[in-house]
Symmetry: C2
Subunit: 465 residues, 2 copies
């Protein structure tokens, strides 16, 4: 297609409408779209309709897609007639937000967006309304500047991310053709630090288990029966302890199958920009961070799989002493996976291993809660370079590649159902009070975001043959 175009027209347009765009975002932030609370069903529906209108006004064909839960919004620039080889991008975002929590901890009401010192305080400002609206504003600017779409641009804004996207896979599955794309782009992460922008290129997978060890049919008197029956709490402790060896490696057979050793470039990148031990110390208060032998803190939280107890309960947990042998003991155990690991295989191996290690004097029950693969953006994609250089142009600072230690189940899902690779470009501050009181997103974060996306679109456009 026509290349050599600059981003200037759309950038200039955006500079003129900045205030309007912030007002539009403010309108969105006023809607209490808490997906977890049934009282907000109408707010969700209203918001989806509002978004469809906003996307339509930015020049896209848009519609609300109903699901078994809250609706999603879909928009599409339509096929790019004069550039059949242009790629298709799908912007993913979510218009639902976390509950506000304790209102008394908010300096201003969570659904009355308030700007103080150039920062917008509101629930959902960073997660994810402020961030996906960057893409909407960029699309509008591109469109209003009168430029033809350089690629086919689609939007999928869902309403159930904060409750685990229960209906998203089915929605994607049944709209495969409409949603078809080469790349998913999303802004639901953070910058590297206050000054440095980042492109996030991996997320860890997750296998989650609920374990119950059953002992006697009711709590027993430890004087009467202590010593004569297996104590399920002791058995559970033994099982959990058996899951790691002295080097803090997970002992489930096959657990590390498929895990790649870090490349020199990866180690270098993580050493430069990954989570520093000193940061762990200051944030967590843990004096001696520790983990798998042979790996740095940054590597342990990104390219290495882990296993953690998330909760554990058995017997008497109140004040004072009670001398019982508990009837049961429970634990929640999760594993974070990295690229190459097969969540189903690991889930099975976990169950098999614990069952085989559980003494026959007790009975173990294992329930699987989630099994999600890691995701890794192929590092040789040109769009990564485009994103990095667009960010550098706007922020005046080299953007870094980052790895996310947490889990984004939508990424392997998009890969599996659409064959699409995902690119995470986050504009929020790393300490934006995500899921907490006084969540914020700076007006400047929004503006730099729109400029970055416009530069990015331009770079992609310039690559299109």
């Amino acid at each position: 297609m026509e290349t050599g175009m600059s981003a200037e027209g759309s950038l200039a347009y955006f500079e003129k409408v900045r205030v309007t765009e912030i007002e539009r975002l403010t309108e969105l932030l006023r809607m209490p779209t808490i997906s977890a609370q049934p009282a907000h069903v109408e707010d969700m529906r209203g918001c989806a309709g509002w978004l469809a209108n906003v996307l339509a006004s930015a020049g896209l064909e848009s519609k609300v897609l109903s699901t078994a839960g809250h609706p999603a919004v879909f928009a599409d620039s339509g096929p790019i007639d004069n550039a059949p080889d242009a790629p298709t991008f799908l912007v993913y975002g979510h218009y639902d937000v976390q509950p506000a929590g304790d209102l008394s901890l908010w300096d201003s009401p969570p659904f009355e967006p308030t700007v103080r010192d150039g920062v917008i305080y509101a629930r959902g400002s960073a997660d994810d309304k402020g961030q996906f609206m960057i893409h909407v504003a960029a699309a509008r600017a591109w469109h209003e500047a009168g430029r033809p779409w350089p690629m086919r641009l689609k939007f999928l804004i869902e309403g159930e991310e904060e409750i685990g996207s229960p209906n998203l896979p089915a929605l994607v599955e049944s709209n495969r053709e409409a949603l078809g794309c080469q790349y998913v782009i999303l802004s639901d992460t953070a910058r590297h630090d206050d000054l440095t922008p980042a492109v996030t290129v991996s997320s860890r997978g997750l296998v989650y288990k609920h374990i119950t060890v059953h002992g006697p049919r009711r709590d027993l008197h430890s004087g009467q029966y202590g010593g004569a029956v297996a104590n399920p709490a002791n058995v559970l402790a033994g099982l959990i302890a058996s899951l790691h060896d002295d080097q803090h490696r997970v002992t489930i057979p096959g657990f590390y199958d498929g895990v790649q050793l870090p490349s020199r470039a990866d180690r270098q990148m993580l050493q430069e920009t990954g989570l520093a031990e000193e940061m762990v110390r200051s944030v967590t208060g843990v004096e001696r961070p520790t983990g798998e032998d042979g790996y740095s803190t940054a590597e342990r939280v990104s390219i290495r799989p882990t296993l953690d107890v998330n909760g554990m309960v058995s017997g008497y947990t109140g004040e004072g002493a009670s001398t019982i042998i508990p009837a049961w003991a429970k634990a929640k155990v999760s594993m974070r996976l990295v690229a190459g690991q097969d969540p189903e295989a690991i889930s099975d191996a976990f169950d098999r291993t614990l069952r085989s290690r559980c003494p026959d004097s007790a009975r173990i029950e294992i329930e699987s809660d989630a099994a999600c693969a890691a995701y890794e953006t192929p590092r040789d994609l040109a769009v990564i370079e485009d994103a990095l250089s667009a960010l550098e142009e706007v922020y005046g600072r080299k953007a870094v590649l980052e790895r996310e230690g947490g889990t984004l189940p939508i990424l392997p899902m998009f890969k599996k159902l659409l064959g699409a690779e995902s690119l995470m470009v986050g504009f929020a501050s790393p300490d934006c009070n995500l899921h907490s009181p006084n969540e914020f997103f700076a007006v400047k974060d929004f503006e730099m975001g729109v400029r970055s996306i416009l530069h990015f679109l331009n770079k992609v456009a310039n690559r299109v043959p």
Copy 2:
């Protein structure tokens, strides 16, 4: 003193007043003497005064002893002038009872004693009002039959047993002379089974610990920090698992110091009358009872020390999944001790061992709740023979020696402060709903008890030089 007396006079007297004695017990059972509930302070005081009167009317000098908590009742036959070498016996009992619990589970109100099929249903009927009143009725019968006391007989009926006797050691300490005795006799245990009477000759000691493993200063996101800091729940599991070896032996250095191997006679006795594996199976529902290698079920719960987790809690324990690294993990751990083990030494060794095993990536805090020694009645005491043969005469069946797996802190306390040996003669049914709804004590249990004690007193009297 004058020997050769028979028990007949007092036995005959008791047979005449049986109904009156049951009425007296019923009056006592109507008093809601729940030591744990502040609302019953006046009931406790009233009951103590009532008991002092009852004991006085049985021919004993009696008085209420105040404590920092609920009062105790003391009574004394006075010195035996004509038999200066006669032993002194202290009957121990407690007039306080457990809370009634869920009233809807009682077939008749807990403090409205009701006789059905010869069985008295009431809170405290077996534990311990019905049982200590056996001794009061026996004393009255002995006295009313006009017989001189064959030994000095004292009573100490406390009001705080169900809350752990917090003020009893101080009370005994400050009344050492008045309470002085060679033997403590108490009926606060059960018969061996429905037909077979028992004398209980040991109880296990107890060391109780509250353990907290501290990790990060607040719960962390396991995606963000998983792998980089020690997880206190995993650390706690490892510490607990380390406390036993493959043979189910406790690995605390010095834990078994002083523990005697069972004598052939002990093993024989436990094989014949101890807790059977089949009984454990049917009561607990545990298909494969297990415990320390080389010992039988009966031995494991009586003459071998044990270590059990009584409670454990960490992190998220609600419905569903939460992916946190908990800030802390707690466990309650208790050890049952046997004769020869020093509770203080074991308490110290436990703390030292766990502290040394806790990795320096976490911080352990250990709080001691109780440290109480085991108690063992010397097997060569003539009074054991007297008790066994008195029971055999009344029940028409050989009485058995039993070991109690639970802990009675008062026994080592009486040994330490008074130098007295204790003898436990229980008359309640083994399934008398102790601490549960519909606690019961049969009228016949009471009557057989009084007859047994009268025979016992007579046998002791016949031994007095």
